[in-house]
Amino acid sequence: MPVTVKDGIPVWRKRDRRQTLRTYFGYLIGAVVFLIAWRFISGQTLWYFVWDAPAQAADLIDRMFPPRWSYAERLWRALWDTINIATLGTLIAIVISVPVAFMAARNTTPHPIVRQIAMIIIVFSRSVNSIIWAMLLVSVIGPGILAGVIAIALRSVGFCTKLLYEAIEEVNPRPIEALSSAGASGGQVITYGITPQVLPAFAGIILYRWDINIRSSTVVGLVGAGGIGLQLNASINSLQWSQVSVIFVMIIVLVIGAEWVSAKVRGAIQ
């Protein structure tokens, strides 16, 4: 932090001249990249349709109110399905991610090649959005709740595995050392040395993921994989915006409720 003397008075500045120039140059590059990207997007946009957006929005909101509350009666089943997709998907993800996490953690992996395979599973699962998984599954095994459950499970495996193997790598090595010096087998070390240490973290990870999965399970129905998204899609396609607003209210209540439950249970465990 340089201090320059100007007219006999020391003036403090945050950066010296070179640092300032470098920062401005960084901003300049950022602005140029932004403008190039913006030009590209602007070129792909039909501005004619953009200008009446406020009118369209007003029209849409006008159609959404008042919400047709009687439609809610037909949504309970969809809501139940949505919760099931998230919960069962999370359960399947747990079953898959525990062994993969032990394969991926540096201190428990049987072989570096196994670790690489586990890493590829994690990257693949995490990079592909659950809606893309759902689209693939709907086209392979047909539309329905099952496709949604598997899509959510496949997307969650990477997330749960990544956080779990990081927790496994951070365990305190002393209990493990004590167990193996007492002659415990590899399985016993995992059961009595590692599992008790990572269990609270793992429970937290699962609840956190369940919360995220509730959010995603509200939309996998848009591509035919069951849940409230199916009704949302049907209502939008038939332009029943007063039903859409009812669905939106339900989704908000469900998501905020799930977040609350997940936070409460996590608070109770940890």
């Binding site: 950022g30 990249v33 932004f34 190039i36 990207a37 913006w38 590209f40 997007i41 602007s42 792909q44 946009t45 039909l46 349709f49 953009v50 957006a53 369209q56 929005a57 849409l60 139940w80 399905d81 099931n84 919960t87 069962l88 359960l91 990257v123 693949f124 995490r126 990079s127 592909v128 959005n129 809606i131 893309i132 689209m135 693939l136 086209s139 392979v140 095994i141 047909g142 329905g144 709740i145 099952l146 459950v149 009595y192 008790p196 269990l199 959010r215 995603s216 509200t218 939309v219 848009l222 591509v223 949302l232 939008i236 939106f248 989704i251 908000i252 998501v255 905020i256």
Partner: protein, 270 residues
């Protein structure tokens, strides 16, 4: 007699149960089992369709074994470029808009009405998945990447607003007080009392969110909001699984590259 003696010689040790109250323990177990039974029994599985799907699964896997980058290269290229451009523009726009919301949603510096408004806005933005918001913006501004940019920017406001406002609430208040005591204006208080404390977190969150925006930009195209999702959707609908595999591999590669870059940046900042 002998059984008692044997028990005395080798006392059986069991790990302590996680839930001490047996009634709660078995109650939860029973409740969980009952829920699972009902949840699974409401999944309607069409076995004929499932068996039919096995052939298609083979085609899908064959597609992944031989991804076809060539025959649909034109739409893939435009889609990927659109996704990247959307990520850049929405990142800049969303982060810039998220800053005032983050300050407004921090209870320690915002007045109550502003706080409530910002919190409500953030809650709505976070409750809906990007794809649902994308439907809205597509209705408003028409098909194309502009709808995607607005969607991602909206999602960014919710995400950054929530996490950043929590950081602002957690700052050390003494520094802020010191600047207030020396007569700093409101902007000076924020600039020298709050911003330096949240800057590392802010950069980390921004990079993380840009990462998320790219992942999301690969799906919102399904509803017509630009990006690679449109091409992906078309390829799945046409059962051109070679092209599907190519697109998914490109997404995975780009997400992985982005994650690597964001990891490097975050490590340097913290």
């Amino acid at each position: 007699m002998s059984a008692v003696a044997a028990a005395r010689v080798r006392p059986l040790w069991r790990p302590k149960p996680m839930i001490r109250n047996p009634l709660l323990r078995y109650g939860l177990l029973f409740g969980g089992a009952a829920y699972l039974y009902f949840a699974i029994s409401t999944i309607e599985v069409n076995w004929n369709r499932l068996i039919l799907g096995m052939d298609r699964a083979q085609v899908l896997f064959a597609g992944f074994a031989r991804p076809d980058f060539v025959s649909r290269w034109q739409p893939i290229q435009i889609g990927i470029l659109e996704s990247v451009a959307m990520t850049v523009v929405a990142g800049a726009l969303g982060i810039a808009l998220a800053i005032p919301f983050a300050f407004g949603a921090a209870r320690n510096i915002a007045p109550l009405p502003v706080y409530l408004f910002c919190r409500a806005f953030i809650a709505v933005s976070r409750s809906f998945q990007e794809i649902v918001i994308a439907i809205f913006f597509v209705v408003m501004v028409g098909f194309g990447p502009l709808a995607g940019v607005l969607t991602l920017a909206f999602g960014t406001i919710g995400f950054m607003g929530k996490l950043l406002s929590e950081d602002i609430e957690d700052i050390e208040p003494t520094q802020l007080e010191a600047i207030r005591a020396t007569g700093g204006s409101w902007f000076q208080q924020m600039g020298y009392g709050v911003v330096p404390q949240i800057m590392p977190r802010f950069i980390g969150l921004s990079v993380y969110r840009i990462d998320i925006n790219f992942r999301e930009s690969s799906v919102i195209g399904i509803v017509g909001a630009g990006g690679i999702g449109g091409a992906l959707n078309t390829s799945i609908a046409r059962y051109e699984f070679g092209t599907t595999a190519a697109i998914i591999l490109l997404i995975v590669a780009l997400v992985y590259a982005g994650e690597y870059a964001s990891g490097v940046i975050r490590k340097r900042v913290q």
